[in-house]
């Protein structure tokens, strides 16, 4: 599901990218100007330009990362599903990845320890992240 993506819906908007690049360029100009003004001796203006330059640069980078993050979050991830195979007679249990055609209570080939048939007893996905409790 997440292997391929539709270009029209997953790429970053060109309009947004253009704005980010312009702001980035302006921030660099502000930083260069800051250096120039500082060399001339106007330390206060240099300070202002430095602050403006850094803020603009930070904001542009943040917006760029945020939009990349949004594109990444658009991918649908298929969860890993596991199958529990169990021998009802000797109780040997094994867990393997789900295979197409598996279903709960499907009889599989004979158990390696005894002659009884193996049985699929559970199919589930494991969710790693814990739910937030919000302190209540």
């Amino acid at each position: 599901m997440s292997d391929t993506s539709t270009p029209a819906t997953t790429k970053i908007s060109t309009y947004l990218l253009m704005i980010v690049l312009v702001v980035l360029a302006l921030s660099i100009v502000a930083l260069l100007l800051a250096v120039q003004v500082y060399l001339v001796g106007n330390e206060i203006v240099a300070g202002y330009l430095l602050v403006i330059g850094f803020i603009a640069m930070g904001m542009a980078t943040y917006v760029l990362f945020q939009s990349r993050k949004r594109v990444a979050s658009m991918k649908i991830e298929a969860p890993k599903v596991m199958t529990t195979v169990e021998c009802r007679k000797c109780g040997v249990k094994s867990v393997r990845e789900f295979q197409r055609g598996d279903f709960v209570f499907k009889e599989l080939d004979a158990c390696q320890k005894c002659d009884d048939k193996n049985l699929i007893t559970a199919i589930y996905k494991e969710v790693k992240e814990k739910e937030k409790t919000y302190g209540v």
Binding site: I76, V81, R100, F103, F105, I123, Y124, K125, V136
Partner: protein, 367 residues
């Protein structure tokens, strides 16, 4: 000449900018707020479009893979995604349930036939799974179209209230769309989903006992539990199927001439935020969702013979219900069986006949 009070040029510029921003916000604040909301909705709409397209693609690929069609099924899938169902007129509500039941039956038959046309090489289980896959894709298509409709309408009319309403319900809509997206793969592969908690519990109870078919698309097994005779009902698996438990319960009650001492229903129940997934709760009433037809039939049958009806539910949210079954839900099976046995011991006598129904989609669960 200084425009605003202040000593240097910088503070004057800042003051002018401040006044400018103040004036702009005074006149255009609402419009700016609306544009921000529109951008937010637009982002979600792009995501919905992506999910919808992926759903369609998965459905087509699965049909090609399983059904081995002679011709390209794309056009037929696109037509399928646009199917709609018109619910019966409710001005005169008498007999409404049976009218709805008929409409749903016709819909089910029609959609199954369509799947058989699209995927001629598939067996009955695969037809059911493909139907479920297509229904999930259909739901995604519908969600996308509705959100797009309100988005365009809001943009056209520049109405803050249309956009605001859409933006407010969007997190819930997105959650549902994401749940359907993860359901697609589960349906395509035939994996059990969270909604299958009920069928899983009863499958464990009936496993090893002989089963027979009951109307419609259900199976029943006669199982001795705690000295009572239990008629255990579930939809026939392992294909994606919910059956019609209403008809099945009615049939079993009729077979026993109403001499049933209790009906116990097991289903997946929607949890509230803060509750734990897989939590088991007990109650009274017909635990069954859907359009209400089966609930009506079960209630009608138990009322006719004055049969007490109990419910045991496994709590989960909408996302868990339609995506591959979580371990917590699979692990809750034994807890549910324990609760059911408690109900049997406390509410019935030895030698009594009872009905236990596992309600839900039995995809990936045999019997």
């Amino acid at each position: 000449m200084s425009v605003v009070p202040g000593s240097d040029a910088i503070s004057q510029i800042i003051s002018v900018v401040f006044y400018g921003v103040f004036i702009v916000f005074m006149f255009y604040g609402q419009r700016i707020q609306m544009y921000i909301m529109i951008r937010e909705v637009e982002g979600s709409l792009y995501k919905l479009k992506y999910i919808k397209e992926e759903g369609r693609k998965i459905a087509i690929e699965t049909i090609k893979e399983i059904g081995k069609p002679q011709t390209d099924p794309t056009a037929r899938v696109d037509r399928y995604l646009e199917y709609f169902t018109i619910t019966p007129q409710s001005m005169d509500p008498a007999g409404l349930v049976y009218k709805l039941d008929h409409i749903l039956d016709v819909r089910d038959t029609r959609l199954k036939d369509e799947v058989k046309f699209m995927a001629p090489a598939s067996d009955e289980i695969q037809v059911n799974n493909l139907e479920n896959t297509l229904e999930a894709a259909m739901a995604l298509n519908f969600i996308y179209k509705v959100v797009r409709h309100y988005y365009i309408q809001g943009k056209k009319t520049l109405s803050l209230y249309i956009i605001m309403q859409l933006q407010m319900i969007l997190p819930l809509v997105m959650k549902e769309a994401e749940a359907y997206a993860s359901a697609l793969k589960a349906f395509a592969y035939g994996q059990p989903i969270g909604d299958g908690a009920g069928p899983l519990v009863v499958a464990k109870l009936m496993h090893g006992y002989e089963t027979r078919k009951v109307p419609k698309d259900c199976v029943v097994a006669t199982v001795p539990i705690e000295g009572r005779t239990a008629f255990i009902i579930k939809a026939e698996g392992p294909g994606g199927n919910v059956g019609k438990p209403g008809d099945a319960v009615k049939a079993v009650i009729a077979e026993n001439e109403g001499k049933i001492s209790s009906v116990i229903m097991i289903d997946a129940g929607l949890k509230l935020e803060g509750e734990t997934v897989g939590e088991v709760a007990e109650g009274i009433g017909a635990a069954i969702g859907g359009p209400g037809v089966d609930q009506f039939k079960i209630e009608e049958a138990v009322v006719q013979y004055h049969i007490p009806i109990h419910a045991v539910i496994v709590k989960e949210d909408i996302g868990d219900a339609v995506s591959p079954m979580r371990k917590e839900i699979a692990d809750s099976v034994d807890k549910v069986i324990e609760r059911v046995k408690n109900v049997i011991l406390e509410r019935t006598k030895e030698g009594d006949k009872i009905i236990i129904v596992g309600v839900g989609n039995t995809i990936g669960i045999g019997q």
